[in-house]
């Protein structure tokens, strides 16, 4: 039925009998009985009592297994007898449940027989067919009212009153609606009326039947009314009480939306005036006050990006209230099937979304909270509006939830929620604005501190005297604090420092002891470092030389790391020697190391002694079954292990190693390579697990399918999927968003790799690294900009690129110079120009972006892109920059482009 999803995860709807029972409770002296097994009554009473904090008596015919075989009439008869005797209700409403409908109970016939056999019974009995599988509480509500109007004998004598039919609204809203109608001088019958029945007073005597509700005699006079005002946009004609009154009794029907928000409240008042009511000064004043509040609140409202969920009329009304207040609905969801809602929502939300340059509102029909949560995360909604069932999303993502729809189980006041009319709208707007203000205020200190003061503050904290129990080295140094201080100037661990602090990776570790399915041994591990460039391995001595040489040119060099090209610990001798030499030469430099973790427990202690303060462990699974799909082979202490066994050994060592490091005060980062269809559903588990061990930050990365690897045919994880996952994991531990997939011999600021320039090009001093083709002749090296998301193939539209990979090639050798963010001219920092933009690509192409893109590639001789618009192509041509539209591998495409340039 429309939905592709078969497992409803956290439902955003209830069943039909919930709605029938609630609506019937708005009828004076009415008792409900559900025909079916008793659990339905019990569950529904339980849920209503929690929301309304009132006794909710719903009887059951308590069908048992026997009833399913022989029919339930005997039980229903007993049930009616007992109910009528014990409660003496004026009306009994019989709703069927799944059970009764599935066994095909003919309730109308049973009731006819019942009435016949009990002529003395004065209780009116109405019945409605309400299988739980045939609709939600929303449909149930209307079907109940429809059944009443259809089954109560009507008196068509004309009178001057009107009928008002509502969908599910709160008790307090019902009271307000009645006041409004009475204030307009109208005589009216409101069906149903739960204002008292479900929001009773504390009275001296408990009354088994709640007072209040629409009188059955009033209902019988509905046929003679001047008109019916039906306050619902989505009531279906087949169960519309107003339509029935019109068709059967000729009562004119006027339908208007639930009066939520200024426009619909206006429409409602206009309808009242049309029916002969007068709108008094009090109401006009309320309108003025609402408008005043709307203007006053606009600066807060505009912060709102709402996710609205609930019954169709609620969702639509609330969307309109949000829109007219500048709160942008990002997600609107309902548990019902409601095709007409989509079109109306589109019309309602389009303009505001365009004004605010946001993507169109996402509509989720037949939704569950799992779908809502995903949409909330993907759209960046910051305000949840609906029932208290949204609380799990609210808690998980630290978002405010304004509880204003049924059910409100965890807070007080569900029965007193005010939404309708000007006053209700004002109250609602205040709640929404205050939720946004609280959220902003709660974050203000952190935002400001992160933006302006974080390094200062943390340094101050570090000056505080040491507390007993802090981890220290033998000579009394507080390791954790010293390492934390180093974190501040480590570009990978502290994003704000990547503009100032540079790092060098020393490629001393060629061997690796595990085989990952995404890796081809003949290259550097692309998922750990930059693709396609084979780098030279240095000896520890050479590494020291390179370090000193770079340090001399880059005083801001704060970090020396070992990141392969194989595994740092699989080459422990070289690693140890390198670190020892560099430490001798520079007592202050921060040591950082990246490993698969297999030998971590073995070397953890020595790493600490070597004063390594930061370690990155790549953990792709914490479940051997999943690990076995990623790791082909694990070589542990000279023995090769495959499958789950290998994965289990690796995992055990990784996790134990992380724990050991954390205990010793080492700052641990965990990299996770996200492989679609393999571990993508498992990443949260990994992050949770390493968080539990005390890791500091997680860096979830896309697996890059390398040709020749086992995973070459695997799908690429999209940036969006990555963002969603990171966002989810953010609730567990901090996420690294600025990873640049550095090479094993990277040098410089993050995102601005200078290694090729320093060592690979003409300025090379220690000798060229990539020199296989020295006899290539005097071909000129061309600088080429590549639009690519993956970094492997040319796969991006020129206008959509947020960054370009800048390559240099003479037609045979290619090397990557940097990844350059647009908004930064050549040579600028790629990291800091990102601003606060979100929703990549969705903003479309604006002229400013094209201009930035053009500026970013201005020093290049060619541009490679998947596609490019006519205008930018012309502009590039005007600047003498050649354009190649291709989808090829970057490597090959760059070589070809360079060859073409060289003519």
């Amino acid at each position: 039925m429309g939905s592709m999803v078969n497992c409803n995860v956290n439902p955003c709807k209830m069943c039909m009998p919930m709605g029938t029972v609630t609506a019937f409770l708005g009828i004076a002296g009415c008792m409900n009985i559900l025909h079916g097994s008793q659990g339905c009554s019990t569950y529904i009473r339980r849920h209503m009592a929690t929301h309304y904090n009132e006794p909710v008596d719903v009887a059951s015919s308590s069908l048992t297994e026997e009833g399913t075989v022989f029919g339930g009439e005997a039980n229903l008869v007993k049930g009616l007898d007992n109910l009528i005797r014990q409660y003496d209700p004026s009306v009994v409403a019989v709703s069927t449940t799944c059970l009764a409908e599935t066994i095909g109970e003919n309730v109308p016939d049973m009731l006819a027989r019942y009435r016949e056999s009990r002529p003395e019974c004065r209780t009116r009995i109405v019945q409605v067919s309400s299988a739980g599988y045939a609709g939600t509480q929303f449909e149930g509500w209307f079907r109940a009212v429809h059944a009443l109007v259809a089954q109560v004998p009507m008196d068509g004598t004309p009178h001057d009153g009107i009928n008002v039919v509502t969908g599910p609204i709160s008790c307090a809203d019902t009271r307000a609606l009645k006041d409004l109608l009475a204030g307009a001088g109208l005589r009216f019958t409101l069906v149903p009326d739960i204002s008292d029945t479900l929001d009773g007073r504390h009275a001296p005597e408990y009354s088994r039947l709640p007072r209040g509700g629409t009188g059955i005699e009033d209902i019988s006079r509905m046929a003679g009314a001047r008109g019916t005002l039906e306050l619902s946009t989505f009531v279906d004609d087949s169960w519309s009480p107003g339509r029935l009154l019109q068709e059967r009794h000729g009562v004119p029907l006027l339908r208007c939306p639930m009066p939520v928000g200024l426009r619909d409240a206006d429409a409602f008042l206009k309808a009242i005036e049309g029916l002969g009511g007068t709108v008094g000064t009090r109401v006009r004043d309320d309108r003025g006050r609402f408008l005043d509040a709307m203007i006053d609140a606009h600066k807060y409202s505009a912060l709102g990006r709402a996710a609205i969920f609930g019954e169709p009329d609620f969702a639509y009304g609330m969307t309109r209230l949000c829109c007219e207040n500048g709160i942008v609905p990002m997600v609107v969801a309902t548990g019902s099937h409601c095709p007409s809602l989509e079109k109306l929502l589109g019309e309602e939300t389009r303009e505001l979304a365009e004004t605010m340059q946001l993507p169109p509102c996402r509509f989720l029909p037949f939704a569950d909270f799992d779908a809502i949560e995903n949409a909330v995360v993907e759209t960046g909604a910051n305000l949840l509006i609906g029932s208290s069932d949204g609380r799990r999303i609210a808690a998980k993502h630290a978002l405010p939830l304004v509880r204003c729809a049924f059910p409100v189980h965890d807070h007080m006041g569900g029965q007193r929620v005010r939404i309708l009319g000007f006053e209700g709208g004002t109250a609602m707007l205040d709640r929404l604005a205050n939720a946004l203000i609280s959220r902003r205020d709660a974050q203000f200190r952190k935002t400001a501190r992160d933006l302006h003061f974080r390094p200062l503050v943390e340094e101050e904290e570090m000056e505080r005297p040491m507390a007993a129990g802090d981890a220290r080295t033998g000579d009394g140094v507080d390791v954790a604090r010293r390492n934390a201080r180093r974190t501040l100037t480590h570009p990978c661990f502290t994003e704000s420092s990547c503009r100032t602090a540079a790092r060098i990776h020393l490629p001393v570790a060629p061997a690796c002891n595990i085989s990952c399915n995404y890796c081809v041994r003949s290259f550097d591990c692309v998922n750990e470092s930059r693709p396609g460039v084979t780098s030279k391995v240095l000896s520890p001595r050479e590494a020291l030389e390179r370090y000193l040489q770079v340090k001399a040119r880059m005083p801001n060099l704060t970090v020396a790391g070992i990141a392969g090209p194989g595994d740092a610990l699989a080459n422990f001798k070289a690693t140890r020697e390198t670190l020892r030499l560099v430490r001798e030469a520079d007592p202050d430099v921060t040591f950082c190391l990246s490993t698969n973790g297999l030998l971590l427990p073995l070397h953890a202690q020595e790493l600490c002694q070597l004063d390594v303060s930061h370690v990155t462990v790549t953990v792709n699974a914490v479940d051997p079954a999943i690990g076995a799909r990623i790791y082909r082979e694990v070589d542990y202490m000279g023995v090769r292990h495959e499958g789950e066994q290998g994965a289990a050994i690796l995992m055990a060592n990784q996790l134990a190693g992380i724990a050991m490091l954390v205990r010793a005060g080492v700052v641990c980062k965990v990299n996770v390579v996200m492989v679609k269809g393999v571990n993508d559903g498992h990443v949260e588990d990994i992050v949770r697990r390493v968080r539990g061990l005390g890791a500091t930050i997680a860096n979830i990365m896309q697996m890059i399918p390398v040709s020749g690897s086992v995973f070459e045919g695997m799908p690429l994880v999209s940036n969006k999927e990555l963002t969603v996952l990171r966002k989810r994991c953010e609730g567990i531990m901090p996420q690294m968003h600025h990873c640049q997939h550095c090479r094993a011999d990277a040098v410089g600021l993050l995102g601005e790799d200078r290694s090729a320039i320093l060592f690979g090009g003409a300025a090379s001093k220690p000798g060229p690294i990539v020199e296989k083709s020295e006899a290539q002749g005097p071909r000129k090296a061309r600088r080429i900009a590549v639009a690519s998301r993956s970094g492997v193939v040319v796969d991006q539209h020129f206008g959509f690129a947020d960054q370009f990979y800048i390559y240099e090639s003479d037609g045979s050798d290619t090397r990557l110079l940097e990844a350059r963010h647009i908004g930064k001219g050549p040579g600028g920092c790629g990291m800091c120009g990102q601003g606060g933009g979100r929703g990549d690509g969705a903003k479309g192409l604006d002229a400013g972006k094209i201009a930035k893109a053009l500026a970013a590639v201005s020093d290049c001789e060619a541009v490679l892109a998947m596609r490019i618009g006519e205008s930018p192509r012309r502009q590039l041509a005007d600047r003498g920059i050649a354009v190649f539209a291709t989808c090829d591998d970057i490597d090959r495409a760059v070589r070809e482009a360079a060859t073409a340039c060289n003519g």
């Binding site: 078969n6 409803n8 209830m14 659990g39 339905c40 019990t42 026997e66 005797r85 739980g132 588990d685």
Partner: protein, 545 residues
């Protein structure tokens, strides 16, 4: 006229006959003979019973709290929604990070699924759940229509188990089966016994190991009990099922002893494990200071280890020292008050001890879905007549597992302990109730109201459905199914929390303002003039003391 006569007088002849045997006033019998009560019979239609259905007992009570299994409700959306997060059974993710307690999974059957069958949808739903959540096991609980349209959920489960390589167990717990939740407990117990218990032989690491049966960790009760047991030196292998995990339950047969807390919902597992694996079970009660001490000492006696005995006394002494002063103060506030309890299986019994610790007398107690043995003691089981409804629930034939069967106690020791403690026996609630108090089975709303008026208890412990009936009538009501938002109530610390909650309720200032000044008697002290005042809401107020 006594209240029983008054209530029965309001019923028609049929109901009169049916309800008569479910209500009794406790009288001291000769030689400890216990009065007989009718229980576990069909609820009367239209009478506003508090009972739930078979699905509620299976999914809601027993299967649902297992934290690392995904439990899919196969049926229309209502049942899944209504059993979602309502029981406050708490769980904490284990080592593997898995905890699905916050989730509700449903196949959300639509009209077309009823017509054409829902097994395709179920199969797909399992696939989606496995793909997204990677659970340790999948449990499937069916609702009313499923049994009627003939979806073969067991075949779907078997197929899924093969496909995904994880345990996949279906429970046919359609709401119409049995007469209450109780049938669902039995079905759930059977499923766990058939497929989960005994499926892993990982031995406990500790010297003395036990399982905690019938503890659902409402408001953290189970955690508090586990804390005590761990402090003494026991290894709790598994908990059925609050914060329970599939892997722990799978190896529960390796434990030396089963502690049975909620007798009604889990006694089947205890008995079946006894038969299959030889595991002894001991009825315990961790509610109430005296009861906890007694239970801890009983367990120590079972293991007969001087070190354990010493630790037990140390823990008891330390815990008592912690809570005694506050318990004294709370007792001062609560002494002389009266209580009525109407809860599910065992709480109506257990809480009487805690109330006694606080000086509160029980005037009425009843069970929603208990059997006669919960009231009168297990010795009546052979006399219980099996009716059609109970026959519809399968009773498993258990055979001794030759490899795993082991007996912890020597026959002599077993006989000795049987005499001194509730080892593999339970003597029921009635024996512990004061003379003159009432016992009511399957209390309904009408009777609740009548008893509240007649007995005027200061506190009525019950559930959310009757809470507002009582409070509108002026009687303080606390939810003893879910502890409102509170807990834990178990153990020493829990007793204090419980006491505080009672004081908070009894002395809520609102009760003293129920009668507006213009209606108050002209006396200076605002005391209601007559007994009607009680009904007007001063129950539990300080003026009653």
């Amino acid at each position: 006229m006594d209240v029983k006569t008054e209530i029965l007088g309001k019923y028609n002849a049929k109901v009169f006959k049916s309800r008569r045997d479910h209500i009794l006033q406790v009288e001291a019998g000769e030689d400890g003979k216990v009065q007989e009560i009718a229980a576990n019979t069909r609820a009367i239609p239209g009478i506003m019973t508090n009972r739930g259905c078979c699905y509620a007992g299976c999914k809601g009570v027993v299967v649902g709290p297992i934290r690392d299994a995904v439990t899919i409700t196969h049926g229309p959306i209502g049942c899944g929604f209504y059993s979602w997060g309502t029981r406050r059974n708490k769980a904490r993710a284990g080592e593997d990070g898995k905890n699905f307690i916050q989730y509700c999974f449903s196949t959300d059957m639509q009209e077309s699924d009823i017509v054409f069958g829902g097994d395709k949808k179920l199969r797909q739903a399992i696939k989606e759940a496995v793909d997204i959540f990677h659970p340790k096991a999948i449990f499937i609980c069916s609702t009313c229509p499923v049994g009627l349209i003939g979806d073969d959920i067991h075949a779907v489960a078997a197929e899924a188990e093969k496909t995904y390589g994880i345990l996949c167990q279906a429970f046919s717990c359609e709401g119409y089966k049995g007469v209450s939740q109780s049938g669902g407990h039995h079905i759930a117990n059977n499923g766990l016994m058939k497929r989960v218990i005994g499926s892993s032989d990982q031995a406990p690491a500790g010297k003395h190991s036990l399982n905690l049966l019938g503890e659902y960790n409402i408001g953290g009760d189970g955690w508090e009990v586990e804390r005590l047991l761990a402090a003494i030196g026991y290894e709790v292998v598994s908990v059925f099922t609050g914060n329970g995990s599939v892997a722990d339950i799978a190896r529960s047969h390796k434990a030396d002893l089963n502690l049975v807390q909620c007798h009604r919902s889990i006694n089947y597992v205890a008995e079946m494990m006894k038969a299959a694996y030889g595991t002894s079970w001991l009825k315990v009660n961790f509610i109430g200071i005296e009861s906890v001490c007694q239970s801890l000492r009983d367990i120590a006696a079972f293991f007969d280890d001087p070190e354990i005995a010493r630790r037990t006394e140390e823990v008891i002494a330390a815990e008592l020292a912690d809570v005694a002063p506050e318990m004294e103060r709370l007792k001062e506030r609560l002494s002389g008050k009266t209580a009525a309890l109407f809860v599910g299986g065992s709480r109506s019994h257990h809480y009487q001890f805690l109330l006694r610790d606080l000086g509160v007398t029980t005037v009425l107690a009843g069970y929603e879905f208990a059997h006669r043995d919960d009231y009168e003691g297990r010795e009546v089981i052979p006399d219980i007549k099996e009716d059609a409804d109970s026959k519809n629930i399968e009773t498993l034939e258990i055979v001794q597992d030759p490899k795993r069967y082991r007996v912890f106690l020597s026959p002599e020791r077993y006989e000795e302990l049987r005499r001194t403690m509730e080892l593999e026996r339970y003597s029921g609630m009635i024996r512990d109730m004061p003379d003159g108090s009432y016992v009511v089975d399957d209390l309904n709303h009408f009777e609740t109201e009548m008893f509240a008026k007649a007995l005027k208890p200061d506190i009525f412990f019950s559930g959310i459905k009757d809470k507002y009936v009582l409070q509108k009538g002026g009687t303080l009501s606390r939810q003893l199914h879910s502890y409102d938002y509170s807990g834990p109530y178990a153990g020493f610390r829990g007793a204090v929390i419980f006491g505080r909650d009672l004081v908070m309720g009894c002395y809520a200032p609102a009760w003293s303002m129920v009668i507006p000044p213009w209606k108050a008697a002209p006396s200076s002290n605002q005391q209601p003039p007559d007994e009607k005042g009680r009904n007007e809401g001063t129950a539990g107020g300080p003026s009653d003391a």
